[in-house]
Subunit: 137 residues, 2 copies
């Protein structure tokens, strides 16, 4: 997902393409890992932009619902990143820099066999650690 695809998606769903929305998309497009609402706020403030919590959180949630951003919760704080593809996948997440590596292994086929009377609504599979770069710092 890139910025233009995301903007098109917004418009085709009747949402307005505002300046703030573009700024937020630009930020996540140039990152390649999970970032928090606070990371985003700091970035925008450095660009001499004013930001309201309302605007930040409303749009992060909207983007997540629309599939523009993926989200995960790490130590009590929501983290967001650009959606990196339409195929089902999971992530290695670096504890230091938040950057990710896609993992194509998914154990759900195996698991479903042992949950026959359960209604499965979702699952989470994440691997945490240090990426090659952060191991040398």
């Amino acid at each position: 997902m890139n910025v233009n695809e995301a903007l098109d998606l917004l418009k085709s769903n009747g949402y307005k393409a505002t300046g703030k929305r573009k700024d937020i998309l630009d930020y996540f497009a140039e990152q390649d890992g999970y970032r928090t609402a606070k990371d985003l706020i700091i970035h925008l403030e450095n660009g001499n932009d004013t930001v309201s919590f309302d605007t930040i959180y409303r749009n992060l949630h909207l983007y997540n619902e629309m599939g523009i951003l993926e989200t995960t919760e790490l130590s009590g704080e929501k983290h967001f990143r650009m959606n990196c593809g339409n195929h089902h996948h999971h992530h290695f997440i670096c504890n230091e820099c938040g950057r990710t590596k896609a993992i194509d292994v998914c154990p759900m086929d195996d698991v479903k066999k042992s949950l026959v009377n359960y209604a499965i609504e979702g699952h989470k599979f994440e691997i945490y650690g240090l990426c090659p770069t952060c191991q040398n710092n």
Copy 2:
């Protein structure tokens, strides 16, 4: 893990077996799913017990570090349950009642092959949905 095992573990590590600690263990022993600090507080208050946040959180963390309680984070809130065994396993977690079912499938052996230069520090694999009981309510 049952209450007596946990109390022995506490004592053998030099921790005191206080009334509050027993109350907290009793609570988790009679539950069979993930519960929050708030769930515990409400339970203790109903028993006409006074509770300090300090006591609750300090002991929840202690129990987690000692392996007496397992923990996971669901929608921004930490959840705890009695440790249900020494073997490595994962959980199906009911979105309605918090009860769990152990899952023995673990995909990490497969995954490690694609993360050769990464330092793996942990992983999380959880399945969410409705248990058989909660589907009928």
